[in-house]
Amino acid sequence: MSKELIRLVDCCMAFDGEQVLDHINLYFNDSEFLTLLGPSGCGKTTTLRIIGGFITPTSGEVLFDGVRMNDIPPHLRQVNTVFQRYALFPHLNVFENVAFGLRIPKEAEVNGKKKKVKLPEREIRERVMEMLEVVSLKGFENRKVTELSGGQQQRVAIARALVNRPKVLLLDEPLGALDLRLRKDMQNELKRIQQQMGITFIYVTHDQEEALAMSDTIVVMDQGRIQQIGSPIDIYNEPKNAFVADFIGESNILDGIMHEDYVVEFFNRKFKCLDKGFAPMEPVDVVIRPEDIDIVAPEQGQLRGTVTSVTFKGVHYDTIVDFKGYKWLIQTTDFHGVGENIGIVLNPDDIHIMHKSEYSGMFGDYSSYSEEYDEMDDVTLLDEEDEEESHEE
């Protein structure tokens, strides 16, 4: 397949004795769009800053093309970053912001001697204008960056990084400060730019939708550890543990027992499933995605329950159903009123079995529905940044 560019080997990071990264092993391929996804303080920004060279891991190795880079300062790495809230230079205009990196004299070999070489002004101009065109900011070159809208500042930040022709672009929650509409537009735009430039994007976000929509590969992180690596489809359909299942989309997570291959028991009933390779009678977590559940008449259902709450979500209804005291979230396009008795049918491919983990029992219960559902959207960027900053203080 594609070539490996960067590899993190057993990287650990601790700030003041507090472990932030716990033995991270990860590699990044050429021209891929990889997302580090996780909640505040999961270590994703720290990972990014290690790759960027802003911090050095307490232990472990950072390899670029197989060469150890731990102690190479950021300005000597072929990596550029788009920062949270852009970090544009307020005293420079759009053109000068983008030209900033090009104006730094670079060491180069001239006639066998090492020399600091400046790019000719004409080339700088050409490259800046070319890049402004890529990010659709032609005609803005003389504007002050402080006069630009959030989306425009974002584009300047991207152009400023890409104009240096890095092998890898690091993006640290770049869309966090934008409103929802703009965010969707910029997602498409970023994907387009990545494909057009054909370079690796390493993208940090806490927004699972964003991750699913843009990435080739998603790395789900929590508590300084990698929870799962995979394509968006894999991660959604085959979550490795309760944390991933809950963080990516909505999940009902139940305790179950694996009787034998392809047979799982929960709610005192055996169901057929597609999973195998578990020990006989192994306790497991059972994941059932809310949109996979079919509602039928009570007498036809494998399980029977009562509707306790219904919320209209536009495309579907979020229906909370009480099964013997255990509440499930079911997403359905059919309306079922509160108090209505319903039955459900689970097909074998609707049921996903996971090994028990430290996260078992923490997620996937919709008894206190409303708070949990909104939690993901409320995680603000500020939290994360403050947290990481306080580590450094």
Partner: protein, 291 residues
């Protein structure tokens, strides 16, 4: 916080400003008085201004004042800039006590600062004296001066000491307001830390540096008490000459020199303010045109 102001408010403001400026006005008027009297107007003259130029004690005090203020301001600005960057990069546990010590010269009474520095210099010179005596006794290649006195050097040290805290106090907030990622961004784009500092940090905190410089210079020019205790008997600032004269009678030449200083500063301030206002207008205009 903007509402309409009543004429009563304006009157109050005018009264306070009259109170602040009446003595200055009197001082300026009597620099043109054709008599030594500081209270009776005897007619217009420029004699005091021409005599001023011949008065070596006032002129040397003036040059001492300006020299020590300028040097102290420059040194304090550079040192304060470095110190502020150091403090900014420190862990809070280390920074907090250092900032408290930094604030001492500002919160302490001037006279205590002056007296304590005076004690330090005297104690140091005593110590130096015995060391130099011993040193000159054991060898004869280099002869160290055995008797040091307070003078321009000690005056300069004192001024630097009380100027630096003001510089730090005006630079620190600018550093804090700065997006922390700016330095990272510059390094990311190929700058070394030093280049990032020159190209990004310095332009960002420039307003803080300038205002710190201005405050430091103001404090130096305005200071009398600390200078009085640290300048020794041979060196005098303008304020010390004035103080020496108050025991007898102050010559109108002093009025003349302070008028000159005042007018210079006034003109400078007006020029700076007009330029700033113009720049702001220009910025607003371009912004409007673009819209």
């Amino acid at each position: 916080m903007r509402t309409k102001t009543s004429p009563l408010n304006r009157l109050f403001m005018a009264l306070v400003f009259f109170f602040l400026y009446a003595p200055i006005f009197v001082l300026i008027v009597f620099s043109f008085n054709d008599s030594k009297s500081r209270t009776v107007w005897q007619g217009f003259t420029l004699d005091w201004y021409s005599e001023l130029l011949q008065d070596s004690s006032i002129m040397s005090a003036l040059s001492t004042t300006l020299l020590v203020s300028l040097l102290a301001t420059l040194i304090a600005t550079v040192a304060g800039l470095f110190a502020a960057i150091g403090f900014y990069n420190m862990k809070r546990r280390l920074r907090a006590p250092l900032m408290t010590v930094n604030n001492i010269p500002m919160t302490n009474a001037d006279i205590v600062t002056g007296v304590s520095l005076c004690l330090l210099f005297v104690a140091f010179f005593g110590l130096w004296g015995s060391v130099a005596e011993w040193f000159n006794g054991v060898q004869s290649v280099i002869t160290l001066p055995e008797n040091l006195h307070m003078g321009f050097g000690t005056l300069l040290i004192a001024h630097i000491t009380f100027d630096i805290p003001y510089v730090i106090l005006s630079i620190m907030p600018k550093l804090r307001q700065m997006d922390r990622n700016l330095v990272d961004a510059a390094q990311d784009l190929g700058c070394t830390w030093m280049q990032a500092f020159w190209k990004v940090v310095l332009p960002e905190i420039k307003p803080g540096i300038v205002s710190g410089m201005l405050i430091a210079f103001t404090m130096s020019v305005d200071d009398f008490v600390i200078s009085y205790f640290t300048a020794g008997s041979a060196t005098s600032t303008l304020a010390m000459v004035v103080y020496g004269m108050t025991k007898r009678r102050i010559s109108p030449k002093i009025n003349a020199v302070s008028t000159l200083l005042f007018v210079t500063v006034l003109l400078l301030l007006i020029i700076v303010n007009v330029r700033e206002a113009r720049q702001e207008k220009a910025i607003k205009k371009t912004a409007e045109v673009r819209r």
